[in-house]
């Protein structure tokens, strides 16, 4: 018998109907959760925090409105409106009230909000003043860390405003023993405690809250059972009536008990997935290895003749649709950085099992098929690749990539597993890794990874080297030696490392402060009872209850820093083409590009105020000379034409220097070293949950907004332009095609960046056309992974992208298109030919 079934399965006519209904209206903010949690908190003042959290969750699940949507087979909706969202005032709320009148009209991820909802929220919000995690986090932070964030060196905003999320729970356990089984486990742990134990007081209240939460989930499912039964009674369509009765049966059994069929397993999975996100507002709640833990139920039903592949596919497709029903409203700034209503529910297929054998099964293929059927952004589908990955799975994944949906992301087991072993995971746990959120690996069911802990802009510290730690008139970094006095490249590089190290420890301070705030104010009993070994340790995940605890802040801008530092090394110190002083001036004047810009009066006023404050605080003598010096260093002096010409000349020399991404061993090895300036210092720090820091090298989409806050950099990048994306070369700087770029990226040390790295490549669908196109595409990934690349994803571009590429060819120098049997770089083609290709983009394959 075949090891797995890889044939294609047709889409059920139900799926397009579900999708259409889901996207019929703009998503809406609903007030129920905020109102209910506030009611509960008002009643539990003074009680232990676990009890308050447990009772609040119970109160929400008992009273929040429920709905079964038309045509649904899998039920459980957090809001009445499709793709609506609830709010989470215990984390933060002030931003929402401030944005009440703009949230429906903003460009990134708008949400409708009714006047009634606004009123309801306005009534409960005042209760939370002074009680949120974000307020407590601020009071825990060191002043210099807050200052560094005000100056945009890094941001820890994600967990500052929201819950943590970024977790994959033991879905397998819930499917197997149900919440009744989990309650029994908790009871058992409780029974083994003595009332005289040192930690009994806390433990007993936690166990009580866990049991209360699990029971609340069982009861919540039964509300759906009752609703389904009621609806069946009123339904005139016999087919739908039978479906509703089946739903009622399912919700009576699961997730209370272990699943006895694939359908029940799907429903049980869904309640877990949905309700974790109702307990807390954290995103990146990742289903992980869905094809693995769902398989036994599928296999048993299939073998027993209880289910057809078509029916199983339909249920999986229904889950895929439901994953897009969940939503979250972020503040306007964050919404820009996470645009696309994304919750980053990462689901991964394929790879090895705990024993190191290939784990591909029927469901691995069916998950890919589901993404093709549903064609929606969730789940964030990923695939694990190793040397033993079946070729047909690889090709099926490539086919999905070719559709232009941007999925799946490809991960290399051969790098991930050793990277995780190096972080102390057991071999079995490392082999069983899944991906959280964007690109972050962890052992599912055992890890509180804090994977999205911060964005750190590696370009900002180099600005501090040029300013000796000053920014907008304030000392925010280390007062390193003026660059004009530096005699060697090493002196400069050391100063960069000094600024980096200083800022990294402030980032750690900020993250740890937020960590403490979550621990104190938002421990999560429900989530924790599905994570090892929270029950055994008698701690929530927020208090270090998990087996593995990490904090993973990500850095970005490696390519800019590698190119920039390399240019300084070569052009300033080896070839002596210009001095550091000249470069400093050129950067201050944005390489002569904004010669016309006068100083902004608002900035000037702020600068003056800061200068005054600084000087007063340090009790320094304020002489005219000092003030002039400081002010001129901030706003610069107006440059002459000759000076601007020189700055442009400096940029030209920098632009001509070798760049990361072109398979040049010297630059690439240099980039590897530059990445270490972020990844290595991070390793030495610990978090309040008893875990370590581990760096990631990926930006989500923060490289654009954070780039806008960054001045010109020594790699020739102009002020306010985006910073390089993940570990990818700077846009347009890789000119030798996809293999050369991949080889450069592979030369970085991906193993040390064990919170994940992100490498993006852009292709036009035509480059993947036909079987040969798929084969070559698969070989490109294999070849990159053979050289220890960690992750790769593909942006198969749309018509809009091509139009943008015509306007801004500098950003698309490496975009591959296929024309009449040839592959070519898009930007090298004539306008008329480009137009031809744009017209053809819509035609598919």
């Amino acid at each position: 018998m075949e090891r797995y079934y890889s044939g294609k399965i047709e889409k059920s006519p139900r799926i397009p109907k579900l999708v259409e209904a889901l996207y019929a209206k703009m998503p809406e903010i609903e007030p129920a959760r905020a109102v209910l949690i506030t009611e509960s908190y008002r009643q539990t003042e003074g009680e232990p925090i676990y009890t308050r959290r447990g009772k609040a969750f119970e109160h929400i699940l008992k009273n929040i409105p429920i709905i079964i949507r038309d045509n649904e087979l899998i039920v459980g909706s957090t809001t009445l409106a499709p793709r609506g969202c609830q709010t989470y005032p215990e984390y933060s709320w002030e931003w929402l009230e401030a944005e009440f009148d703009t949230v429906a009209t903003r460009t990134a991820d708008p949400f409708y909000i009714s006047e009634e909802t606004k009123e309801a929220l306005k009534r409960v919000h005042p209760y939370w003043k002074g009680k949120t995690t974000s307020e407590l986090a601020t009071s825990y932070m060191a002043p210099e860390a807050i200052k560094a964030m005000e100056h945009n060196i890094f941001t820890t905003g994600n967990y500052f405003y929201n819950g943590i999320g970024h977790v994959c729970v033991h879905y397998d356990e819930v499917l197997e023993i149900g919440f009744e089984g989990i309650i029994a486990k908790i009871q058992d742990a409780w029974d083994r405690c003595q009332v005289s134990d040192g930690d009994y007081a806390r433990r007993s209240h936690l166990y009580d809250a866990m049991i209360r939460s699990c029971q609340a989930v069982i009861d919540y499912a039964r509300r759906y059972a009752a609703l389904a039964k009621h609806m069946a009674g009123e339904c005139t369509d016999p087919v739908r009536r039978a479906e509703l009765l089946q739903i009622a049966d399912n919700c009576m059994r699961v997730p209370a008990k272990g699943a006895t069929s694939f359908y029940e397993a799907c429903q049980s999975f869904w309640f877990v997935q949905q309700l974790i996100q109702l307990e807390s507002s954290g995103h990146s709640i990742s289903p992980g290895r869905f094809d693995q833990y769902m398989y036994p139920y599928y296999k048993a039903d299939l073998d027993a003749g209880k289910i057809t592949r078509e029916k199983a596919q339909e249920l999986i497709d229904c889950i895929w649709v439901k994953l897009n029903d969940l939503n979250k409203c972020r503040d306007a700034v964050s919404a820009e950085g996470f645009a696309g209503y994304s919750l980053f529910q990462n689901l991964i297929v394929g790879g090895q099992d705990e024993e190191g054998e290939d784990a591909t099964n029927d469901l691995s293929f069916m998950c890919i098929t589901a993404s093709q059927h549903v064609f929606l952004p969730a789940p964030s589908l990923s695939i694990r690749i190793w040397n033993g990955t079946p070729h047909d799975l690889m090709l099926r994944a490539a086919e999905l990539t070719r559709t232009g949906i941007g999925l799946p992301a490809y991960y290399n087991d051969e790098v991930m597993i050793p990277a995780l072993l190096n972080r102390g995971l057991t071999l079995k746990d490392a082999r069983n890794y899944c991906i959280i959120g964007c690109v972050e690996p962890q052992a599912p069911g055992k890890t509180d990874g804090w994977h999205d802990a911060a964005f750190f802009n590696m370009c900002r510290p180099v600005e501090l080297v040029f300013s000796s730690g000053m920014d907008k008139g304030e000392l925010i970094g280390v007062p390193t030696k003026p660059v004009e006095e530096m005699k060697t490249f090493d002196e400069f590089y050391d100063a960069y490392k000094t600024q980096m190290n200083y800022m990294i420890q402030l980032l750690v301070n900020s993250d740890n402060a937020i960590d403490c705030a979550h621990m104190e104010r938002c421990p999560l009993p429900f989530l924790s009872c599905m994570l090892e070994d929270c029950i055994g340790r008698g701690k929530t995940a927020q208090e270090g209850g998990c087996i593995y605890n990490f904090t993973g802040p990500q850095g970005f801008g490696i390519a800019n820093m590698a190119d920039g530092l390399y240019a300084i090394k070569k052009l300033v110190f080896e070839e002596k083409k210009f001095t550091l002083g000249e470069l400093k001036e050129a950067l201050e004047h944005n390489y002569g590009h904004d010669a016309q810009n006068a100083a902004d009066p608002a900035v000037l006023a702020q600068v003056a105020a800061n200068v005054a404050k600084e000087l007063a605080a340090s009790g320094r003598h304020v002489g005219e000379e000092e003030v002039t010096q400081i002010v001129s260093s901030v706003i610069g002096t107006q440059a002459t034409d000759a000076q601007n010409a020189r700055y442009a000349q400096i940029k030209e020399m920098i632009d001509a220097a070798p760049k990361f991404g072109n398979d040049d061993p010297e630059v690439d090895m240099f980039a590897r070293d530059v990445a270490y300036t972020y990844t290595r210092p991070m390793e030495q720090y610990t978090n309040p949950r008893g875990g370590r820091y581990q760096a990631g090298l990926y930006p989500v989409s923060a490289n654009v907004p954070l780039g806008a806050q960054t001045g010109a950099t020594p790699d020739g990048r102009l002020a306010h332009m985006p910073v390089a994306d993940g570990v990818s070369p700077s846009a347009g700087k890789d000119t030798l095609g996809p293999t050369a770029a991949a080889n450069s990226v592979a030369k970085l040390d991906h193993l040390i960046a064990s919170n994940g790295t992100l490498f993006n490549q852009k292709f036009h669908p035509s480059a993947l056309s036909g079987m040969t196109g798929l084969e070559n595409f698969a070989s490109l990934i294999r070849g990159f992974f053979d050289q220890k690349g960690m992750h790769m994803q593909f942006n198969v571009v749309s018509r809009e992208t091509l139009l943008d590429a015509q306007k801004h060819p500098e950003n698309y120098k490496h975009l591959v298109v296929r024309v009449a049997g040839y592959s070519a770089l898009f930007t090298t083609l004539s306008k008329s030919l480009q137009d031809d290709i744009i017209r053809r983009t819509e035609q598919g394959f």
């Binding site: 080889n743 070559n776 698969a778 070989s779 990159f784 053979d786 050289q787 009449a820 592959s823 004539s830």
Partner: protein
Amino acid sequence: MNDRNVTGRIFDIQRYSVHDGTGIRTIVFLKGCVLRCRWCCNPESQKFEIETMMVEGKPVVTGRDVTVGEVMDVVEKDRAYYRRSGGGLTLSGGESLCQPEFARALLKSSKELGINTALESMACAKYEVIESILPYLDTYLMDIKHVNPEKHRQFTGRSNELMMENARRVAESGMTELIIRVPVIPTFNATPEEIRGIAEFAASLPGVRKLHLLPYHRLGQDKYERLGREYTMKEIVPMEQEYVEMLLDTAIKASGLECQIGG
């Protein structure tokens, strides 16, 4: 003389090429050609002399002299991808056979490094020259543009007898996989009769199994301007997909070979 030290003249090395031979390949474009095809999409390949093109108002030198060792260092960089895809090195041009020592040394070095080799050429050289490279060549992608000597001369500058004779001798040698490629150019060879003629010729060559039709495109048009030359095929528009498919059908029927559009 050590093969690595042999020098030659190229105008480009293009990595991640996926249409000239199997798998992911690195194409080395040798400079200099014996023909002057009017539709040539690489006009900078025709002259052996190093030339200057004007690109967006700036002069760009095209053509450089390199050693085999320098080229092979670049070729070797994508070994991981060749291994996974069955790819390797492809020599193109120009006509590589115009630099026989260099071409032979490149192919030989490649084989010694375990890298698959292909040659895109119209076999316009003495057979002895071709024979000397065959031991190092896995795939010969040979252009047959027309079976009519006069029309061939009119559009490419030379008659086709030598090339057709060489095609037969390469096929009979059995030393390499021979694939016939036809640039399909409106006004030159794009009628069903003309394609049928080429297809029948290809079918008559022993051991040939594949025929590629490469439809005319305008990728090279800009380069003529950059070289300060006139593009004489301005009025020629690319064929409709349906028409090309009709020609493909004609080729299949006439030859019985595995035929495809594109490389």
